[in-house]
Amino acid sequence: MEIVLAIMIGVLYAAGIYMILRRSMVKLILGIILLGNGANLLIFLLGRITKGSPPLIPTDLYTFSEAYADPLPQALILTAIVISFGLQSFAIVLVKRAYKVVGTDDLDEMNAIDQDS
């Protein structure tokens, strides 16, 4: 399980960075989304995967008797998902506006700011 996740995270990071390096703005957003998912899975993996033992203490006990899944990474991922959702929605609106105003989807042609004025 770990090895599959590790390979998947690697692929997501690589694909995300490749997409960010493309010239099209839509691909830029896709790259950011892939990278965000890769980071979330990385937190999940590094929080140690424990199967089938939720962090709940049985009613007749006061402490954990065996290894339990760490709940913190899931809280972190949830926070990170919400934040990246907000940022991605902003990115989509920004790219749409930029496409309307600048009239191109090509990042290389966005060079009005390099001129003196």
């Binding site: 960010i20 703005m25 830029l28 950011i32 990278l35 965000g36 980071a39 990385l42 937190i43 993996l45 590094l46 929080g47 140690r48 913190l72 990474p73 972190l76 926070t79 990170a80 934040i83 907000g86 940022l87 902003f90 990115a91 920004l94 790219v95 506006r97 930029a98 105003v101 600048v102 990042l107 966005m110 060079n111 009005a112 700011i113 390099d114 003196d116 004025s117």
Partner: protein, 503 residues
């Protein structure tokens, strides 16, 4: 009353943003609320600072969860100092915005977002939890995205796409680093990480995590070779926005670097050498970049990059004298850079252009304002006894003690190049004979503004000029503060003890 003192700067900004949202329709009311709120914020921040100064580092465990299980908020002298400086710059920019941001932009929620940005800054300075720091960074960048795009001009949107991409990439790298550090240590509390990371055997992985943090914060702080987004975007939004960005946003990156590299990744020659090399290259490339620009605000943007180098060089040298120099430079730079961009905004408002080829004759027409703007310009160069001189003295002394001749060379080279740039700006903008600048239609020139609007543009520049004069002439006090901060940072055991102190 003072138990929750650390939260007051945060609560005040949150309250201000909410109140400002309720007065969405009345710009006049928003201006009044924002300015009075910012004045109140200075009071609270000064209270926090004097309290920390007298009683030492304070902590709050959110929800009363003991460290390291809950989120800890820590106010040591560095945090309290930065909150105070943020409030000073915040007040100046708030007053400046009231006049210089056009009503069309103010109508779309400029002030609420501005106070959200200050909230994020204060939160980032005060938190003691690495994941919480990530969340504050996100609050900062989402507010800054709105501020940089507000108005939706072509150049703004183009700049925003670049700014957005680099900042979100930095956040992702930061998140990756947090994941790795959680996997290594099993904790997110910075003091706890500091204790546990020292005991780790896998030093290679620790160094790689350090590099991840360095890249993530390096993008935000705009150090070489990660700064290219900054000159592509900082000159596009209105000058009040550039002022708060130039004064404070890059400094959050510097703060995060200082915090992680004095608390978590200490005594690591490999990382410190990398910091030193990056700082030297930042000083040189930023300075040379500024030389060839003709747009006044682009010149200032490159100067931000150049002067970030001074702060990083002190961190790379990592002696108490060097860190004191870094802190002093941080204090000086926040005030002066904010003021510089506001002065740039005033010049734009007077003449209608930022192009140095067209500008000229400002001294002949506005001698008093020119003399006022000379204060931030020459403070930046560091002509003694103005404020930029003293930290450079500490940094050069520390470099000599360490025998780091390259850094002395870079510090002096960057000072010289800054002098050349400022002399060029002064000659071209203020002294050159006035040529006919084409008048722009529908542009609110400075002369046409009412008295109170003119005052709102000039008073913040006077205010920050006075603060920077105080930093220069009262250098003794500032040096005392810097030394104390440096002492606390070099002895990170104090920070750890404060976090784990049980009542």
């Amino acid at each position: 009353m003072t138990e929750q003192l650390i939260f007051y700067p945060l609560l005040l900004q949150l309250l201000l943003s909410i109140v400002l949202m309720f007065s969405w329709n009345s710009i006049r009311l928003q201006r009044v609320i924002s300015i009075t709120g910012s004045i109140l914020n200075i009071g609270i921040s000064a209270w926090l600072f004097t309290y920390i100064w007298n009683y030492g580092t304070q902590t709050i465990q959110a929800g009363n969860w003991e460290a390291p299980f809950g989120i800890t908020f820590v106010a040591d002298t560095l945090s309290a100092l930065l909150v105070l400086l943020t409030s000073i710059s915040g007040l100046a920019v708030s007053i400046f915005s009231a006049s210089s941001i056009i009503p069309a932009r103010l109508k779309f929620g400029y002030f609420p977002i501005f106070h959200f940005l200050i909230l994020g800054l204060n939160g980032a300075f005060l938190t003691g939890d690495i994941f919480n720091l990530y969340v504050w960074f996100e609050i900062i960048i989402i507010s800054s995205f709105v501020l940089i795009t507000l108005g939706g001009e072509k150049a703004q949107l183009e700049g925003a796409v670049k700014y957005f991409t680099m900042n979100i990439l930095a956040s992702m790298i930061f998140l990756t680093a947090v994941a790795v550090i959680y996997g290594l240590t099993g904790t997110l509390n910075m003091a706890d990480i500091s204790v546990k990371i020292a005991a780790l055997e896998n030093r290679g992985l620790v160094e790689i995590t350090g590099i991840l943090f360095l890249v993530a914060f390096g993008i935000k702080a705009a150090i070489f070779p990660l700064y290219f987004w900054l000159p592509a975007s900082y000159h596009t939004p209105p000058s009040a926005v550039s002022a708060i960005f130039g004064g404070l946003l890059t400094k959050v990156g510097v703060y995060a670097l200082i915090r992680t590299f004095t608390l978590i990744f200490t005594d690591n020659d490999f990382l410190q050498d990398i910091l030193l090399v990056m700082a030297i290259l930042t000083l040189i490339s930023g300075g040379v970049g500024a030389l060839i620009q003709n747009n006044l605000r682009k010149v200032f943007s490159y100067l931000i990059i150049c002067h970030i180098g001074y702060m990083i060089i002190g961190l790379g040298l990592f002696t108490e004298v060097a860190i004191a120099g870094t802190i002093f430079y941080l204090i000086h730079d926040i005030i002066v850079k904010t003021n510089l961009f506001m002065a740039g905004g005033l010049i734009y408002r007077i003449t209608g252009t930022n192009n140095m080829k067209l500008l000229g004759g400002l001294y002949a027409n506005y001698p008093k304002l020119s003399l006022l703007m000379a204060i931030p310009l020459f403070s930046l160069v560091g002509i003694p006894p103005l404020s930029g001189f003293w930290p450079k003295l500490s940094l050069v002394t520390a470099s000599i003690n360490q025998g780091s001749w390259w850094s002395i060379g870079a510090i002096l080279f960057a000072s010289l190049i800054t002098l050349i740039i400022i002399a060029k700006v002064w000659a071209k903008v203020f002294w050159k004979d006035k040529e006919e600048i084409p008048k722009r239609l529908n542009f609110r020139y400075f002369d046409k503004l009412t008295g109170i609007r003119k005052a709102q543009m000039v008073i913040p520049i006077v205010f920050l000029a006075l603060v920077s004069l105080y930093i220069g002439f009262g250098a003794e006090h500032i040096q005392q503060v810097s030394n104390r901060v440096a002492g606390e940072l070099m002895n990170n055991q104090l920070y750890i003890e404060a976090v784990f102190k049980t009542e």
